[in-house]
């Protein structure tokens, strides 16, 4: 019987493939995951979660600072982005921080911080470039905890923050004005945070728990250009101090979001 050339090659390949061999070295245990968190000395990535849990959007993020330096931070965002944010000018959500951990480095003046937040980009102050955040104004309503906070353990600070991005990915920015302080929120307690852009009056309005605490930030920069990177997200961010001379610093936050509302004209 004539064997098809391709078929004979496959069979020959299979025979070669079936040849047994011995391992070069013995195997040794690397990780059996019997302790949490994921070890930063074994694995490059740390914990993440983005799921619906208990009827809320739950996001979990852990990150580590570098151990090669006593300067700077490793800053990482973990976001869930609104698919079509174009017409959003008002955003309201309930934010619940279930747990956090944030440690610093005595030899590093940079401060570790964790945040759960909504972030909105409504306009650009100059000539936007499509896809770039440079010149975009980033507005955040957040629950934040820093490693050097003087607040009692378990308290987060509710803040309204407005910054102008000075890099295409907004890895650097300048505050447009001092942050609005909306008071403290305990771990395990939800706070409803609203962020509103009032273009007519050139100001942002931040509101907590239906108006229990409010604050405004006015601005004078141009707001006529659309953002280079329209953006509305729920998520978290860690900024973790690098530390060469002490324990490796970490930032961890487990937060849930619920009851998201937008201005009526922005609803899909």
């Amino acid at each position: 019987m004539k064997m098809h050339v391709g078929l004979s090659a496959v069979i020959l390949g299979s025979l070669l493939a079936a040849r047994p061999a011995q391992a070069l070295e013995p195997f040794a245990l690397y990780d059996q995951f019997s302790t949490t968190p994921l070890s930063p000395t074994k694995w490059r990535e740390a914990e993440r979660a983005r799921v619906i849990k208990a009827g809320m959007l739950n996001t979990v993020q852990r990150d580590w600072g570098l151990t090669s330096s006593n300067a700077g931070v490793v800053a990482t965002s973990w976001n869930t982005e609104v698919a079509r944010p174009g017409r959003i000018t008002q955003f309201r959500t309930k934010i619940l921080v279930n747990a956090y951990e944030v440690t610093g480095c005595a030899a590093n003046s940079a401060v570790s911080e964790v945040r759960a937040r909504s972030t909105e980009v409504f306009f650009n102050t100059g000539n936007p470039t499509s896809g770039s955040l440079l010149g975009d104004v980033l507005v955040q309503g957040e629950l934040s905890r820093s490693a050097n906070s003087v607040d009692a353990p378990g308290l987060l600070r509710a803040l309204g923050v407005v910054a102008i991005c000075t890099a295409s990915d907004c890895s650097t920015s300048t505050l447009l004005a001092p942050a609005v302080d909306l008071g403290t929120v305990p771990v395990g307690t939800a706070a409803e945070i609203s962020v509103e852009w009032n273009k007519a009056l050139k100001k942002f309005v931040f509101m907590r728990d239906g108006g229990a605490q409010t604050g405004e930030l006015s601005y004078t920069v141009s707001d006529v250009a659309d953002p280079g990177r329209p953006l509305t997200v729920l998520g978290s961010r860690t900024s973790v101090a690098n530390c060469a001379t002490g324990p490796q610093a970490t930032g961890f936050i487990d937060a849930s979001f619920d009851n998201v509302f937008v201005n009526r004209n922005a609803k899909p």
């Binding site: 070069l24 799921v51 923050v161």
Partner: protein, 263 residues
């Protein structure tokens, strides 16, 4: 005290209530079991230790703008020092999966749970570029066009020569068939690079290793050195009908490497 707080303005308010310019409308109260891809970009992910094992989960969706091609996603945890690792072994369990086809798209859907690495480069490596990197992987795979019964996964090992910077194209250097398993069943899999004999060997459970030999040069480090425990989805784009989904929920445990590769 945070820089934000240090800078905190005295604008707070105890001040008059602000009034919204527009009334608010509900956007999402997350009452569904999954994140709605029509409302949100960024679907489900888990990377965590649960019940003394590594849990990885991912769910993604194809595009609805054409009936051709597929979207591809990976979700990993990667060994911190991959260069020292030549051999990897782990226990893998696929707990759940979803993979489907688009009637108008010839591309099949695929979900893949795997132990994978870039072991060497067969040419002149460029940092950050996978061209000519050689990838070895041992996999649990389910395709949307399989004739297998529901819940059956194919087990295999393969070696691949990357053809471009992100290894989205390339050439197979060989593969082995390690049988099948089913969702919920733990399988021990290993992939080992034996440079001295120019071969990869793949082993399932306590079975005999199967070997793929290669003839390409193997003296250079890969352009993208990595060794990972990884999930992958390939989801066909689909203009008509429901948005196509790819989902994997898997557990990895008791990871071993060559003795000189441990921290």
């Amino acid at each position: 005290m945070s820089k934000h707080l240090l800078a905190a303005a005295m604008l707070v308010a105890l001040a008059p209530l602000a009034h919204a310019q527009e009334s608010y409308s509900p956007f999402d109260n997350f009452s569904a079991s999954q994140i709605d891809p029509a409302r949100w970009l960024g679907s489900e992910r888990i990377r965590a230790i649960k019940s003394n094992a590594l849990s990885l989960m991912m769910r993604d969706f194809g595009d609805q703008v054409s009936n051709s091609g597929a979207r591809r996603f990976t979700w990993s945890v990667s060994f911190d020092e991959p260069a020292r690792i030549k051999q990897m072994r782990a226990y893998l369990t696929v707990k759940d999966l979803a993979v489907n086809s688009c009637p108008g798209n010839a591309s099949a859907g695929l979900v893949n749970t795997r132990v994978i690495g870039g072991f060497f480069n067969a040419g002149a490596p460029l940092p950050g570029n996978q061209t000519n990197d050689v990838i070895g992987q041992v996999t649990l795979t389910r395709r949307s066009d399989t004739a297998d019964a529901a819940g059956v996964l194919r087990v295999g090992g393969s070696v691949f020569l990357c053809g471009n910077i992100d290894c989205s194209t390339g050439t197979s250097l060989g593969s082995v068939d390690l049988g099948s398993t089913v969702v919920g069943t733990q399988v021990r899999l290993s992939v080992e690079w034996d440079q001295a004999t120019k071969r990869f060997q793949f082993t399932r459970d306590t079975g005999s290793p199967l070997v793929v030999t290669y003839a390409v040069a193997d003296g250079q480090a890969p352009g993208v050195p990595f060794k990972s425990l990884q999930l992958r989805t390939e989801i066909p784009n689909c203009m008509a009908g429901a948005r196509q989904e790819g989902m994997l929920d898997a557990v990895f445990d008791y990871v071993q490497v060559n003795a000189s590769g441990t921290p």
